[in-house]
C-alpha cells in the first residue's frame, strides 16, 4: 500500500539539543498509528514538524507522494493535515460554530454567512453524535465537549488526509473515550490516516493498528500492535527492563499500618459550599490515603481545604488532635503539611528559575525571607534530592523549563520534601508523564510512607491509587461517598462501581 505520509531522515536541532535525529516515519491511509515514547523522546517535536509549527533542519516529508515543506500551521492544514492538541486549542470566547469554521467560514461577497455556518456546524457535530447549541460560547461547555468540537474542526474539511490526535483523551472520561474511538474507527474506515499519541497504554492497545516508538529523538522501530506485547513496548520506550515497575506492585498491600496513634489530620464534617460537601477523613502517620473519583468530583477541592488554600465554611479540622483553623497555606506549612499542585505549570514550578532555586522555594518561604538559607546548605540539600529522585539532567543550575514533565514533577516533589513535611498532599503527580518516571514517583511515595510520612495521593488513575494506597476515599459529585480499606477484595472494578454509584454496601 502506498504511504499517505512518509517522513525520511527527519532532523531537528534546538540550541544545545538534537530533538530529532534521522527519524523515519510513515502513515498508511486507513490506519490508526500510535506514536510512542517517553516525555522528551521527540513525539511533540515530530508532531510540530508535521503540522508546520517547526521547520526541519534535514530530511524529507512526502504527502500522498508529493514532496512538501510547511511554513506554518495554515499550510499544513491546507495540505490536508489536521491536528487536535492535548490542551484544547480553540478560542473560548467564540461560539462553537465559529470555532469549527473560523478561517474557512462560508462567505458571500466577503460577508460571513452565519446561518449557513451554524447549519453546517450542526451537521459536522451530528457526525460525532453531539447535539448541542452551536451558537453558544465555547467555554460554556465542558472540556470534553470542547475536545469534541476540536475534533469536529479537524475532521470537518472533507480533504483531511492525515488526522493527528495529540493526547486527546487526557481530559475525557471512559465513555467519552469510547465515543472518540468510535469516531476514530469510522474516520479510519473512510480512509483517513490517523496519528494517535497517548500515555494510556491500554487505550493505545485498544485502538492502534501499528505503532512507532521513539526514544531520545531516535527511531527505535515500527511495530504491529498485535505483535508487540505491552511489557515489551514499555521496555522499548524506556530502554531498560521493567523489574522496577513490577516490584512496587505488591508493595503497598503488604505494608499495613499496625499502630495508629493520634491522626495527623482529622477532618470532621469539613466542607465548603460549592466545592465539596462536608466529609470526615483521618490520616495517620505512615499511611497513604488515595483519593479516587472522576475529574471534577471534588478531589482537588478536598485537598485544597486540608492545605488551607481554600477556607472551609463548615466543620472542623483537628491537627494532632487539636482543633485548628488553617486559614492560609503558610499555616498548614507550619504544621508540616505540604501540597504539590496538579497544575505543574501554573501553580507549581517556576520555569525561569533553576532546579536549585525551585527546590529551595518552599523551605525559604517557611523560614521567612529574613533568614536566607546559606548557599552551602542549599547545594547540599539540592544535591541530595537530585540524587535521591534521580532528576535528569543532574544539574542543579539548569532552568526548570528545559526539563521534561516527569523531571519537573520530581523537582516539585523535592521542593516539598526538603521542608520535611509530616503530611504530603500530592495532586495528580503522574499525569502526563511517562511510564519510567511514573514508576519512580510511585516508588518514592511508597518509600516516604515507610519512613513515617503520611501521604494523601490524588490521581485519576485507579490502578495507581490501588497500587499505593492503604485506604481509598472515593468521591462522586463533590461528595465523599465511601472509604475503602485497600485489601484483596478491593479492585478497580469495585472502585469504578462506587464512582458510578452502583456499589451496594
Amino acid at each position: 500500500m502506498a504511504e499517505q505520509l512518509k517522513m525520511t531522515g527527519i532532523k531537528k536541532v534546538f540550541p544545545g539539543v538534537v530533538a530529532l535525529d534521522d527519524v523515519d516515519f510513515r502513515l498508511l491511509p486507513g490506519e490508526i498509528h500510535a506514536l510512542m515514547g517517553e516525555n522528551g523522546a521527540g513525539k511533540s517535536t515530530l508532531i510540530k514538524v508535521l503540522t508546520g509549527v517547526y521547520d526541519i533542519d534535514g530530511g524529507d516529508i512526502e504527502l500522498a507522494g508529493q514532496k512538501v515543506r510547511f511554513t506554518g500551521p495554515l499550510q499544513a492544514q491546507q495540505a490536508g493535515i489536521s491536528t487536535v492538541y492535548q490542551e484544547v486549542n480553540l478560542c473560548p470566547n467564540l461560539s462553537v460554530a465559529e470555532n469549527i469554521f473560523i478561517g474557512r467560514e462560508p462567505r458571500k461577497f466577503g460577508r460571513i454567512q452565519w446561518s449557513e455556518m451554524r447549519k453546517r456546524a450542526q451537521v459536522s457535530l451530528a457526525r460525532l453524535d453531539l447535539d448541542i447549541d452551536v451558537s453558544a460560547q465555547l467555554d460554556s461547555y465542558s472540556l470534553a465537549i470542547q475536545q469534541m468540537v476540536a475534533i469536529a474542526r479537524a475532521t470537518d474539511v472533507g480533504t483531511t488526509k492525515v488526522l493527528i490526535l495529540d493526547e486527546p483523551t487526557s481530559s475525557l472520561d471512559a465513555s467519552e473515550v469510547e465515543q472518540l474511538f468510535t469516531i476514530m474507527r469510522r474516520l479510519r474506515d473512510e480512509g483517513v490516516a490517523i496519528l494517535f499519541v497517548s500515555h494510556f497504554l491500554d487505550q493505545v492497545y485498544e485502538i492502534a493498528d501499528r505503532m512507532t516508538v521513539l526514544r531520545n529523538g531516535r527511531l527505535i522501530g515500527e511495530y504491529r500492535t498485535a505483535e508487540l506485547p505491552q511489557m515489551q513496548l514499555v521496555s522499548k520506550m524506556i530502554g531498560k527492563e521493567l523489574e522496577a515497575l513490577e516490584q512496587i506492585e505488591e508493595h503497598a498491600r503488604e505494608a499495613t499500618v499496625t499502630e495508629r496513634g493520634t491522626p495527623i489530620v482529622d477532618a470532621r464534617e469539613l466542607g465548603r459550599t460549592g466545592a465539596i460537601a462536608p466529609f470526615d477523613l483521618t490520616i495517620h502517620a505512615g499511611e497513604v490515603v488515595g483519593l479516587a473519583g472522576l475529574l471534577g468530583s471534588g478531589r482537588t477541592e478536598l485537598a485544597r481545604l486540608l492545605f488551607g488554600a481554600d477556607r472551609p465554611d463548615h466543620g472542623a479540622l483537628l491537627i494532632d488532635g487539636k482543633p485548628h483553623t488553617v486559614k492560609a497555606p503558610r499555616e498548614a506549612m507550619a504544621e508540616g503539611i505540604a501540597f504539590s499542585s496538579e497544575n505543574r505549570r501554573t501553580e507549581g514550578i517556576i520555569g525561569e528559575l533553576t532546579v536549585r532555586e525551585n527546590m529551595i522555594l518552599a523551605m525559604q518561604a517557611a523560614r521567612g525571607w529574613t533568614r536566607p538559607i546559606p548557599r552551602r546548605k542549599q547545594d547540599e540539600l539540592v544535591d541530595r534530592y537530585v540524587k535521591a529522585l534521580q532528576i535528569r539532567p543532574a544539574d542543579p543550575e539548569r532552568l526548570v523549563r528545559d526539563l521534561s514533565g516527569g523531571n519537573q514533577q520530581k523537582v516539585l516533589l523535592a521542593r516539598w520534601l526538603i521542608t520535611e513535611p509530616r503530611l504530603l498532599i500530592i495532586d495528580e503527580p503522574t499525569r502526563g508523564i511517562d511510564v519510567g518516571a511514573k514508576a519512580e514517583i510511585q516508588r518514592l511515595v511508597a518509600q516516604l510512607a515507610d519512613g513515617g510520612m503520611a501521604v494523601l495521593f490524588v490521581s485519576a488513575e485507579l490502578e495507581e491509587v490501588l497500587r499505593l494506597s492503604h485506604k481509598i476515599e472515593v468521591l462522586r459529585d463533590r461528595r465523599l461517598v465511601e472509604e475503602l480499606e485497600n485489601g484483596d477484595d478491593v479492585d478497580a472494578d469495585r472502585i469504578m462501581q462506587t464512582i458510578a454509584g452502583g456499589a451496594t454496601t
Binding site: 470566547n93 467564540l94 467555554d139
Partner: protein, 339 residues
C-alpha cells in the same frame, strides 16, 4: 443616533433539549447593557436637574464635540479586542494636526495634505504593528515608543499653535447638516458615524473581524488553528494608526488649528471609552456599539459638569476614574461568572 449592528446573535433554539435553557442576557452583552443603563440614568439626571438639558441639540453636541474621540476609540477597539493597547493615538493626533497646519500654511493644496497626513498615521501604525509582531515587543512598550516619536516629531516641526486658514479646511469645519427643527450635526459627526458603521460591519461579518476576536480569545490557539495571526495583529495597529490620524484631521477641522500639544492624554480617554463601553481589556469580547456608548458617557459627564457651572472641569477626570474602576470590576465579575 447612529445605527450600529451588533454581531448577529442567533435566535435561540427553543425546542432544544426541552427548554433546558432559561432566558438570561448573554454574558457578553451585560457590560454593554450596563453602560446603556448608566447612560440613561445620567441623561435623566441631567434633564431633571438642568433647564434645557433635554434639548436635542445638547445631545447632538456630545457627538459634535467628541466625533474625533469616537473615531480614535473605534481604532482602539480593534486593538484592545486583540488584547493589545495603543498609547500613540493622542500623539498621532498632535502630529497630524501639526503637519497639516504647517503644510497648509506653506501653501500646499488640501488635496495633497489630507491623504498625506492620513498616510503618516497609517504608516506609523503599520510600523508599530510590525515591531510588535516581528520582534515580539509588548504593545505597551512599542506604542509608548511610537507616542514619544510622534509627539517629538510634532514638537520638532513647530512648538506653537498654528491657525489653519485653508479654504477647504474652513469649509469642512463649517459644514453643517441641519434638520427640520433647527438642530444640526457637523461633518465630523457624519464621518465618525460612517467609521463606526464600517467598523461594526467588519467586526461582525468579515474574516478579519472574527480573527481579531479569535486572537483576543487565545492567540496561541488562533495560530494553531491556522489563522493569520501576524497579519491580523499588524493590521489592527495599522487601522488604529489610520483612525488616529483621521481623528487628528477631524480635530483640526474642529479646532481650526494645528498644535503639537493637541490630544495630550487623549489615548487614555479613548481607552477609557472602550473599557467603559464593555470591551474586555484582555481582549476577545466587546462591540463597537459599546465603544460608542462609552464615548457618549464621557461626553455626557462633561456636559453635566458644564451645565452645573460651578464645578471644576477636573471633576470629569475623577468621575471617569471611578467609572473605569467600576467597569473593570464588573468585567471581572462577569467573566468569573461565565466560568
Amino acid at each position: 443616533m447612529t445605527v450600529v449592528t451588533t454581531p448577529p446573535t442567533p435566535q435561540r433554539n427553543r425546542s432544544l433539549l426541552g427548554g433546558r435553557r432559561v432566558y438570561r442576557p448573554n454574558t457578553k452583552h451585560i457590560p454593554v447593557l450596563a453602560t446603556l443603563a448608566l447612560l440613561i440614568v445620567m441623561y435623566s439626571i441631567g434633564v431633571y436637574n438642568y433647564d434645557s438639558f433635554g434639548d436635542t441639540q445638547v445631545f447632538l453636541n456630545i457627538f459634535v464635540d467628541n466625533a474625533f474621540l469616537l473615531v480614535v476609540a473605534v481604532g482602539m477597539t480593534f486593538v484592545i479586542l486583540t488584547g493589545g493597547i495603543d498609547l500613540s493615538v493622542g500623539a498621532v493626533i498632535a502630529l497630524t494636526t501639526t503637519v497639516a497646519a504647517t503644510l497648509l500654511t506653506a501653501g500646499w493644496p488640501a488635496g495633497v495634505v489630507l491623504p498625506l497626513v492620513l498616510l503618516i498615521g497609517t504608516v506609523l501604525g503599520l510600523g508599530m504593528g510590525a515591531v510588535i509582531h516581528f520582534f515580539k515587543v509588548e504593545p505597551f512598550i512599542a506604542t509608548l515608543a511610537g507616542m514619544f516619536l510622534a509627539r517629538g516629531l510634532a514638537l520638532l516641526i513647530n512648538r506653537n499653535s498654528i491657525p489653519i486658514t485653508n479654504d477647504f479646511w474652513t469649509q469642512m469645519a463649517q459644514k453643517r447638516f441641519r434638520f427640520d427643527d433647527g438642530v444640526f450635526i457637523s461633518l465630523n459627526v457624519v464621518i465618525a458615524a460612517v467609521v463606526v458603521l464600517i467598523a461594526a460591519l467588519v467586526l461582525a461579518w468579515t474574516r478579519f473581524g472574527r480573527n481579531v476576536y479569535a486572537i483576543g480569545g487565545n492567540a496561541d490557539s488562533a495560530l494553531l488553528m491556522g489563522l493569520p495571526v501576524g497579519r491580523t495583529r499588524i493590521a489592527v495597529y495599522t487601522l488604529s494608526g489610520f483612525c488616529a490620524s483621521l481623528g487628528g484631521v477631524l480635530y483640526s477641522f474642529y479646532t481650526s488649528s494645528g498644535y503639537s500639544l493637541h490630544g495630550q492624554g487623549l489615548e487614555l480617554d479613548a481607552i477609557a471609552a472602550v473599557v467603559i463601553g464593555g470591551v474586555l481589556l484582555t481582549g476577545g469580547s466587546g462591540y463597537v456599539l459599546g465603544t460608542v456608548l462609552g464615548v457618549l458617557v464621557l461626553g455626557l459627564i462633561q456636559t453635566i459638569i458644564t451645565f452645573q457651572g460651578d464645578l471644576n472641569s477636573w471633576w470629569t477626570r475623577i468621575v471617569v476614574g471611578i467609572l473605569l474602576f467600576a467597569f473593570i470590576v464588573l468585567q471581572r465579575l462577569v467573566t468569573r461568572k461565565a466560568k
